[in-house]
């Protein structure tokens, strides 16, 4: 603990990041450049999210880290450990108990509150990047609100697949102004971005950008009048907890085509099972705990 400044980054760096965050909050959806630091983890592992988290953490915070909905996968475990060691903050896996949640590619199923901050890890913050490779040009497009090109991507989807096949990183428009990449969350989570009581911050370490969706901000998923946006999920119930309204992961269980669908949000699934819900393949929660 004494070897590191609180939350790893030095105070000047945190100050610089907080300034970027404040600017991002003031201009919802606008990508604020910041001087991203080297972090002791590779790019793509959440270096941007970690820096935003470090700048927001206080010693009283309780941290939860999600990786694809799960609390127990590599990325989540290593980042949680990182802040346990460098900040000494309390951690939790329960969404309701956490004050700061760093997430990779999911928004928790349980609705967030005003007292929570959600930090997203973002690989490529520029939603127009794959259509327009020039940074000077995409900046100009944001500046002049020229977003027709974003619909070209959706047009291409429909032309090729018959429907909007973009399933994650689905582009949104924030507060009627900036088009934003919501990080690679499934489009199932897109409606949760809008009018959320929690502060949502996005950090991209390699691309050196921070942007934000302040609480109660209107976020609209882009679509066509005759092909409206649809928050899709696998048409099943969770096989462990029986939930019909949560985002599901498909798990292949043998090489003869058997599969099961389980909640991608592990905390949501566990708390439902603890409350007595049982899915198609589930066992009562108490017996498993006893084993």
């Amino acid at each position: 603990m004494t070897d590191y400044n609180f939350a790893y980054l030095d105070e000047q760096t945190k100050r610089m990041i907080r300034r970027a965050i404040l600017k991002g909050v003031a201009v919802p959806g606008y990508q604020v450049p910041f001087a991203s630091r080297e972090m002791p983890m590779p790019y793509g592992w959440g270096t941007g999210g970690v820096q935003v988290t470090a700048a927001c953490l206080t010693p009283e915070d309780r941290l939860k880290v999600i990786d694809q909905g799960a609390d127990d996968t590599t990325n989540a475990v290593s980042i949680r450990k990182f802040f346990q060691r460098t900040a000494g903050v309390a951690t939790t896996e329960a969404t309701a108990e956490a004050t700061l949640i760093q997430t990779r590619h999911r928004i928790p199923e349980q609705p967030l509150t005003q007292d929570q901050i959600l930090v997203y890890q973002v690989p490529i913050p520029e939603p127009l990047r794959f259509l327009e490779p020039r940074e000077t040009e995409t900046r100009k497009m944001h500046e002049l609100e020229e977003y027709g090109l974003m619909h070209v991507k959706l047009y291409e989807d429909i032309a090729r697949h018959g429907h909007i096949a973009t399933a994650y990183a689905y582009p949104v428009k924030v507060e009627g102004r900036y088009v934003m990449d919501p990080s690679p969350i499934p489009k199932f989570d897109n409606p949760k971005l809008s009018d959320s009581p929690a502060l949502q911050l996005f950090g991209a370490g390699r691309e050196q950008r921070i942007y934000a969706v302040p609480p109660y901000t209107h976020v609209v998923s882009l679509d066509f009048e005759d092909h409206p946006f649809e928050a899709s999920k696998a048409p099943h119930d969770c096989d462990l907890c029986g939930a019909s309204d949560s985002y599901l992961d498909e798990v292949i269980t043998d090489d003869r085509g058997s599969r099961m669908y389980v909640c991608s949000d592990t905390d949501h699934c566990r708390s439902r099972r603890a409350a007595g819900f049982i899915g198609r393949l589930g066992t009562p929660f108490a017996t498993e705990a006893a084993e």
Partner: protein, 264 residues
């Protein structure tokens, strides 16, 4: 066909006054003035380096001229394009104007299907109904003689002539009033050129477009242009009706240009 034009016929669509562009001490184009009237096609000819492409880029807002005025008859009356804010100028460039590049790769998105390329301009001016966009793209592919079943192919799978026709469709789909063309037939073989010229002539007449065509090919202007400007070393040396200039060239340079056309 000019009766269909929304603007008054007693004011020019584009009025250029004293346009000058310098590249350091060298002159790109100097002191160019002309009027372009609704429904008129103006050809600009000259040898390489005579400043015709510089002039076109200045007019279309791709380059910033050092001096002069470019007054366009917008829906709200004549406005100096060079004094407009960039947002407004770009809005003009994707609604009322069109720019056909010599190389279709500069004007098309090669990774996007033909339908998407045509639809992009519609979406850029606010179209948000897939079925409508698709129908208009289909209609325009037909008008530039591209088979409708190729609507979902990428331009990289098209021949050079098809790419150029696709670029024209993409530019004309929003019904612009003024089209800038930079060597639209350059790099195409002669029979494809002839077809493209035929098509262009039909579209320009049918839609009542005004156009400024930059080319070094006198045959192209003979076919398309009503009026002709001959440039040399950044200056206009002669201008007048196309047939008049080509049949009875007055300036020594124009005489040289006309006499150097190869006869088969």
């Amino acid at each position: 066909m000019t009766l269909m034009q929304p603007v008054a016929l007693d004011t020019p669509l584009l009025a250029v006054r004293g346009l000058t562009k310098r590249y350091g001490p060298r002159i790109g184009c100097a002191d160019i003035s002309f009027d372009l009237w609704p429904g008129e096609v103006l050809g600009i000819v000259g040898e390489s380096g005579s400043g015709k492409s510089t002039l076109l880029s200045c007019l279309a807002g791709h380059l910033r001229p050092d001096e002069g005025e470019v007054i366009f008859a917008t829906e709200d009356g004549p406005r100096d394009v060079l004094q407009m804010a960039e947002a407004e100028r770009r809005r003009l460039a994707r609604s009322d104007w069109a720019f056909v590049h010599q190389n279709p790769r500069d004007g098309l998105r090669m990774g996007v299907t033909a339908g998407g390329n045509v639809g992009e301009r519609l979406m850029a001016v606010g179209a948000r109904h897939y079925g409508d966009i698709r129908a208009r793209a289909t209609d325009w592919l037909g008008r530039v003689e591209i088979a409708v079943e190729r609507i979902d192919d990428r331009p990289s799978a098209f021949s050079g002539g098809m790419q150029q026709r696709l670029q024209i469709a993409r530019n004309l789909v929003t019904g612009p009033r003024l089209v800038f063309m930079d060597e639209p037939t350059g790099g195409l073989d002669v029979s494809v050129q002839a077809r493209l010229l035929d098509l262009l002539r039909g579209l320009v007449r049918e839609m009542g477009l005004s156009a400024i065509i930059v080319t070094h090919d006198l045959a192209v202007v003979r076919l398309l242009a009503d009026r002709l400007m001959v440039m040399k070393s950044g200056r206009v040396v002669e201008q007048g009706l196309t047939d008049q200039v080509l049949d009875d060239p007055q300036h020594a340079y124009t005489q040289l240009l006309v006499s150097s056309v190869l006869q088969v």
